[in-house]
């Protein structure tokens, strides 16, 4: 895909286009009499708008393309709105911080909020980030010194301090809002009632408040929201996991009749109270776009892994957090941490659960491409942000293999599964939009990123921090509410057990179907 994937987008996609008062949006069937009347009264009625950035244009037809407009400049990711104002909710987190650095370096004006809950909740678990990170005020200062960036920040809780968020939004006037401010942990939501309530309250109701604020203050901005592939679950039928909604050629047949399912939401089967909250979020965002003409991309993100972005590699002070505890560590990151600690890698059951994955820097590239190619008024769209699908057991084998390169003799252990999920299931994930419509060019290779993680975690300062919290690595949070370590079922040397791939494991992309992945190939794909 060439770098100008969004060159033909027009004012209809641009957050600077002032539609209110100019464009009379109506869902069909409502007020068609009003439209008829307006048209009858004014035979020369043309659709015109104004531009917040170019008031000298006055009223004009909104057909200027990004390529034609001097406010949109060409970059390696596509056309970007000059000094586009992006607000990141959850800027202190694993993803928020690297995104803030990347966007600032690219010339975006970046502001962010955080309530520091991630730091608090990891501490609650008795853990800390393996990679030491600075306090926010220091991080901002370091970013300024090293990268020349100027990021605005306020400590705000989006759920309980909505008035402060609104104030910040009034002042900053974001043209895009990246919403990362949710508690991103399935096990955390399953600890007990209080934890479940906290997760759903913060995540679902917090997001709802943000939607109202967007409607009132910046209705022409767009929300790029982090959802999760976990919303979909893993259908035992092996039905493809489409991108949020059925394609138009998906047909329901019943009773000798047929109906197109095109555009209808696909079934969701969340696997924890955290995932249930994300499904609720999806419907809130979908409805807000419908009622208020808001715009949103809902990103069903695969399991994220990695430590590297170009900006963070400039200096240790710019690194993002690395969690390895059972609540906040993601599986590949945890495997590498376990290997360095000499703990046999923990797979649940036979480890034949299949999930979608994406490396950190690829996830950042996705975000940039979505931010610079905003949806149209009222448009809600979903992307599956996945660059590969793997079985957990194959990932453990891959990590063990890379561990050998560092002189680490890694073993694998099978534990009783704390979750309620099928031991074995097919999975076919459709992920075509990011490459097909937004020009994503995935660069991260699994084994290469695992190697980077080993390099970081075997550094003496980082390894010491891992060892200080070794006791929080093994899982204890069971879906049934018990707090007991899982029974060990087995322990073995990598490469000594073969788990034949019996069910479909497939990723459908614009390049075709990556069928029947037999383990992880040499180049790490």
């Amino acid at each position: 895909m060439n770098k100008r994937h969004n060159c033909d987008k027009t004012c209809w996609n641009c957050p600077a286009a002032i539609l209110k008062g100019n464009v009379d949006f109506r869902a069909c069937g409502q007020s068609k009499e009003e439209i008829k009347k307006k048209v009858e009264e004014n035979p020369n009625l043309n659709m015109v708008i104004e531009c917040a950035r170019r008031p000298e244009l006055g009223h004009f037809e909104p057909n200027i393309t990004f390529e034609q407009c001097p406010e949109w400049i060409e970059t390696k990711y596509g056309y970007m709105l000059k000094e586009m104002r992006v607000m990141i909710l959850g800027i202190d987190g694993y993803l928020g911080w690297p995104l803030a650095l990347k966007l600032s370096k690219l010339g975006f004006k970046v502001a962010g909020v955080d309530n520091y809950w991630r730091r608090d909740m990891v501490m609650e678990k008795g853990s800390h980030t393996a990679v030491p990170i600075q306090r926010m005020t220091q991080r901002l200062q370091s970013a300024k010194e090293i990268l020349g960036t100027n990021i605005e920040f306020r400590k705000i809780d989006i759920r309980t301090e909505l008035d402060k968020l609104r104030e910040f939004m009034e002042e900053f006037k974001p043209e895009s809002i990246v919403h990362y401010a949710e508690i991103p942990s399935a096990p955390y939501s399953m600890v007990d009632c209080n934890h479940a309530l906290k997760v759903q309250d913060n995540n679902t109701l917090g997001s709802l408040g943000v939607l109202f604020a967007m409607k009132d203050i910046v209705p022409e901005s767009s929300m790029v929201k982090l959802g999760t592939m976990g919303e979909y679950g893993a259908p035992l039928t092996g039905r493809p996991i489409f991108e949020g909604m059925f394609p138009a050629d998906a047909v329901l047949q019943w009773d000798g009749r047929e109906w197109s399912m095109g555009g209808e939401m696909t079934p969701r089967n969340p696997g924890s109270f955290y995932h249930v909250g994300k499904v609720q979020d999806t419907y809130n965002v979908y409805e807000a776009c419908r009622y208020w003409w808001l715009r949103s991309y809902d990103i069903m993100q695969g399991v994220i892994y990695g430590v590297h972005t170009k900006e963070m590699a400039e200096d240790k002070r710019l690194r993002t957090r690395f969690d390895f505890d059972e609540w906040f560590g993601t599986v590949i990151n945890r495997f590498v941490a376990q290997a360095v600690l000499g703990i046999p890698l923990t797979i649940y059951g036979k480890g034949e659960q299949i999930r979608g994955f994406i490396g950190l820097e690829d996830a950042m590239q996705c975000m940039i491409r979505l931010i610079i190619s905003p949806p149209e008024p009222g448009q809600y769209d979903v992307v599956n942000q996945v660059s590969a699908v793997y079985r957990i057991v194959d990932l453990a084998e891959a990590v063990a293999e890379v561990g050998k390169e560092f002189g680490i003799d890694v073993k694998i252990q099978r534990l009783e599964n704390p979750r309620v999920e099928p031991d074995k299931h097919p999975m076919e994930v459709v992920s075509k939009k990011l490459e097909g419509e937004f020009g994503l060019d995935p660069k991260i290779r699994l084994k290469e990123e695992v190697r980077r993680m080993f390099k970081v975690l075997t550094n003496p300062e980082v390894k010491k921090r891992l060892e200080e919290k070794k006791h929080v690595v093994l899982p204890k949070t069971r879906w049934n509410g018990d707090k007991l370590e899982m029974d060990k079922l087995d322990e073995y040397e990598p490469g000594t057990k073969k788990f034949k791939l019996e069910l479909k494991q497939q990723l459908d992309t614009i390049h075709g179907n990556d069928k029947e992945l037999k383990g992880i190939k040499e180049n790490g794909n």
Binding site: C28, K32, I35, D249, G262
Partner: protein, 99 residues
């Protein structure tokens, strides 16, 4: 495939049947239907067009659009058939039958 108020009358007065899908940017069904329409357009000899409801108030008002997407088959300026909501490939092709 996209037409506007300006060329609407010329398009629908064609002697050959032409299918117009009326769509909105807020309509997820419409986006997915567009993909299907492009596929169908490659297989049949008739014209398929689409028109944004919000940006083209005259045609939208004239055609009494009640839901989205709305598919209308026109011929020589007259409405021949209409379907509202997502349509399967078979259902769209069936609109051209007997024409």
């Amino acid at each position: 495939m996209e037409i506007s108020d300006k060329e609407f009358n010329e398009v629908i007065t064609s002697k050959e049947p032409v299918l117009v899908m009326f769509w909105g940017s807020w309509c997820p069904v419409c986006k997915r239907s567009e993909v299907l329409l492009r596929e169908i357009a490659e297989d049949i000899n008739y014209e398929i067009k689409k028109m944004n409801i919000d940006r083209n108030p005259r045609a939208t008002a004239k055609c009494n659009i009640l839901g989205s997407p709305t598919f209308i088959l026109f011929k020589e300026g007259k409405e021949i058939k209409r379907a509202i909501g997502a349509q399967s490939k078979n259902q769209i092709l069936a609109m051209f039958e007997n024409d």
